[in-house]
């Protein structure tokens, strides 16, 4: 926390700018990803998909949003009114706030400017493209992710519907199971970086390794290091379970539970759950990018500490996040839903021991000086 650092009006304005940029980006993730999902599924299933509204159906999501606003907002008579209304907000909040501790570009120096007879950014000011660079960065992510289950649980319970209830119970059991593997898999990344701060996790990955008798130079991205492969696979698969995406979408499971926890929801309340799902997906992709794919690092290119360098690194970050989100969509339309007992078995008997074993492996690599 920046308790003893001078914090003036310029910093406040910069913070607001950062929050505005990220908020705008993340709010727009949903319509874009819905389009990608629908067109992507159509591509995979060899059908046209939405193609009526706008070119390539690009405006379909906006038409959907308009439709959501116009729909009747129904609250079931038996529902717990307060919690039923609060649940979508509970679901959206963690997805929207987690991104605050993820760095999304290279820090750069804003040069001194003279505008309207005033001196702005006196002596140059460092712009760090992260909303909150807290020392417990990764823990904040897990803390907020662990709160994500409440939105689903409260929604399921307060709807007074058996299907919703089943969805909620499944979701809470699933999410607390996979949270363990997720956290333990991330420990190996923290061991290598030697810090909980995500800016330092990324900074460590901007280095290079020399392999094959010091001939080949590869970026020190965690995903490229053999010691991290196990951890990456566990984290990536657990991320699907944490975001309730297929093949782990037991909270919804439309073939079994109508629509699971949001069966009773309509109008904008349902739209909020929809947004929460895609934002959680985007946030999870950003976290995976930061932990394993080198964050904003462009391989074999030393980004200058200028606005151009920041812009390039930001685009690299968004490209990686976008690629991961496409994989989320790809997997959804490729792999069918698992059985519930298999899901639990994978989580507890397979991933958890492997994640613990992986910590030992990575620790051995570090002790041996191979990382």
């Amino acid at each position: 926390m920046s308790g003893n650092v001078a914090f003036d009006a310029t910093d406040i304005v910069l913070s607001i700018v950062k929050i505005a940029v990220i908020l705008l980006l993340w709010l727009n993730v949903t319509p874009i990803m819905v389009w990608v999902e629908r067109r992507g599924s159509a591509l995979i299933q060899d059908r046209p998909g939405p193609n009526r509204v706008g070119p390539l159906g690009l405006l379909q999501s906006f038409a959907d949003a308009l439709k959501f606003i116009l729909k009747e907002d129904i609250i079931p008579a038996q529902a717990h009114k307060w919690l039923y209304t609060l649940a979508p907000a509970f679901g959206l909040l963690p997805a929207l706030t987690t991104i605050a501790v993820v760095p999304w570009g290279r820090a750069f120096v804003i040069p001194e400017m003279h505008l309207f007879g005033r001196t702005l950014f006196e002596g140059g000011r460092i712009f760090n493209p992260i909303i909150a660079d807290v020392s417990a960065g990764i823990l904040v992510i897990f803390a907020l992710a662990s709160l994500g289950v409440y939105g689903i649980t409260i929604a399921g319970w307060s709807s007074a519907n058996k299907y919703s209830m089943f969805g909620a119970i499944r979701a809470s059991a699933q999410m607390i199971s996979y949270e363990l593997s997720l956290t333990l898999a991330a420990v190996s990344v923290l061991l290598v970086a030697g810090s909980l701060r995500l800016t330092e996790v990324v900074a460590q990955q901007t280095n290079y390794y020399y392999v094959l008798f010091d001939i080949v130079k590869i970026p020190a991205w965690n995903v490229l290091s053999p010691a991290m492969w196990l951890s990456f696979i566990i984290f990536f698969v657990s991320a699907f379970a944490e975001t309730n995406r297929l093949p782990f979408d037991f909270a919804e499971a439309e073939a079994e539970l109508v629509a699971g926890y949001h069966t009773e929801y309509s109008s904008m309340k349902f739209a909020l759950f929809f947004m929460a799902e895609y934002m959680a997906m985007a946030t999870m992709s950003a976290v995976i990018t930061t932990l394993y794919l080198g964050g904003w690092d462009i391989p074999y290119y030393n980004e200058p500490a200028t606005f151009l360098g920041f812009l390039l690194s930001f685009l690299a970050f968004m490209a990686k996040v976008g690629f991961l989100m496409f994989i989320f969509v790809w997997v959804r339309w490729t792999i069918p839903r698992l059985k519930y007992d298999i899901l639990m078995r994978i989580g507890w008997k397979f991933f958890l021991p492997l994640a613990i074993l992986n910590i030992v492996i990575v620790a051995a690599f570090i002790a041996g000086g191979w990382i």
Binding site: G3, W82, L139, A143, L147, Y150, I154, I169, I176, E179
Partner: protein
Amino acid sequence: MEFAIFFLFAAIAVIFALVVVLHRNPVVGALSLVASFFALAVMYVLLEAPFLAALQVIVYAGAIMVLFLFVIMLLNLSHAPEAPTRPVQQFLGYTASAAFGIGLVYYIAKYAVSTTTEGFFQADAHTIGVRMFEAYVFPFEMVSILLLAAIVGALYLSGRALPRPAATASQPGDEVSK
């Protein structure tokens, strides 16, 4: 600024703690406890201990309370509006807890507040880790053994294959729910 944030979140913590005690619906109670824990985590941030704040949310708000809520929902606990049948016990209970509360506030006001040393203290992950594995390694390991014993006990109780007495015997959950 810090002053205002402290009192805002202190008020939130106290109000939600009161809701936990006073509200009849157990699900609302559990969720209020989550809110109270979250407000408590803000206190840790104000004390410049974000590590503890994150742990507070992960362990209490994120893990323990989810399990509480899970059990409450699974058993579908409903409040049993009992008529106050034992006025003497009720009176004694209120008196005793009021006396305890007054004593607690008195001693905290007298000793705890005045003796806290002002100044910088470290509560980051590194310091806590070193302390835990050097100075406090024995209590730390003892706690882990205690937790292990609890896990083994729970596994034994839930997993033993005893012949059930008869089909009429109720499950443990039934008497709780009704």
